[in-house]
Subunit: 139 residues, 2 copies
DNA sequence: GCCTGATAGTTGATGATGTCAACTATTGAC
DNA sequence: GTCAATAGTTGACATCATCAACTATCAGGC
């Protein structure tokens, strides 16, 4: 994107800056729930009732498959997650939340997605515009 | 913010989702520059010509001070960063970029803030609106 | 059926990240 | 000057993350 408009560059810079600012919150939030940031990422990816193959987790986190093995080992030993064989392919193991894991995940997502006070600086109209724009951007 | 509008919640959810999506890019980008994600964070915080105390880095990254010691040890051994005593307080050590570190940081920031093609989905008007809204949000 | 190559996950080795407690040096207030 | 507080380091330890080697399974061709 060498020829992106300056508006696009500015917008992207702001989004990246937001991501970095946001990054600092996760360790604190994770610690409150006795989790590590990496474990939060894994937990976030396992939606209740939607088991996900381990390889897909590695792919989404852009990390090595053996790293996921260790992360899941710890989550499983804490009773938050279960490995189950995939029906379609016996090489694949899918990850499912236990009831405890499901509750913890809900708590985690709830705290992560609670908007901070600074969002109140925006008018309702601006909030709507932001939702519309981000939806197009991420969709 | 229990009483935040649903628009605010939606907007925040999208921003958080963006942060997570963004998170996966850093390891790849960092690896290209022979850096780890954590080292990128430190490098990003040291602006050229603006030495920063180590404690401030720890505070911004929301991590222990001893962690910064190790990170800076590795950056310094690679000749990217220098520890210097602070004039005002002899307990404090400030971090400054070497010329090599400064160049690498510029390269890093350049790659991080290059907008992806998906920003092209937005009209110029939407890009302007996004910049305006994010500026108010982060300011 | 039987090779063969590719894929999913695990294991072991190794280095990096991150926390904690204990320590040194310095500061600032009394 | 004494004493609590602060900045940074050190050492011990768990976790994160990668790589290479391995097992088991799959999918294709013959």
């Amino acid at each position: 994107m060498k020829y992106a408009s300056s508006h696009a560059c500015d917008a992207w810079r702001l989004l990246v800056r937001f991501s970095f600012a946001q990054r600092a919150h996760l360790p604190l939030l994770a610690a409150e729930l006795q989790l590590s940031p990496a474990q939060c990422h894994v937990l976030r990816l396992i939606e209740p009732g939607r088991p996900i193959p381990m390889g897909r987790v590695a792919e989404t986190l852009a990390c090595d498959a053996s790293n996921v093995t260790g992360l899941v080992d710890r989550l499983e030993s804490r009773g938050l997650v279960r490995r189950r064989p995939s029906g379609a392919d016996r090489r694949v193991k899918v990850l499912a939340l236990t009831p405890t894991g499901s509750r913890l995940r809900a708590l985690l997502l709830d705290r992560m997605t609670t908007p901070p006070a600074t969002l109140g600086r925006l008018s309702v109209r601006e909030q709507q515009a932001l939702v519309r724009i981000l939806t197009r951007l991420l969709g």
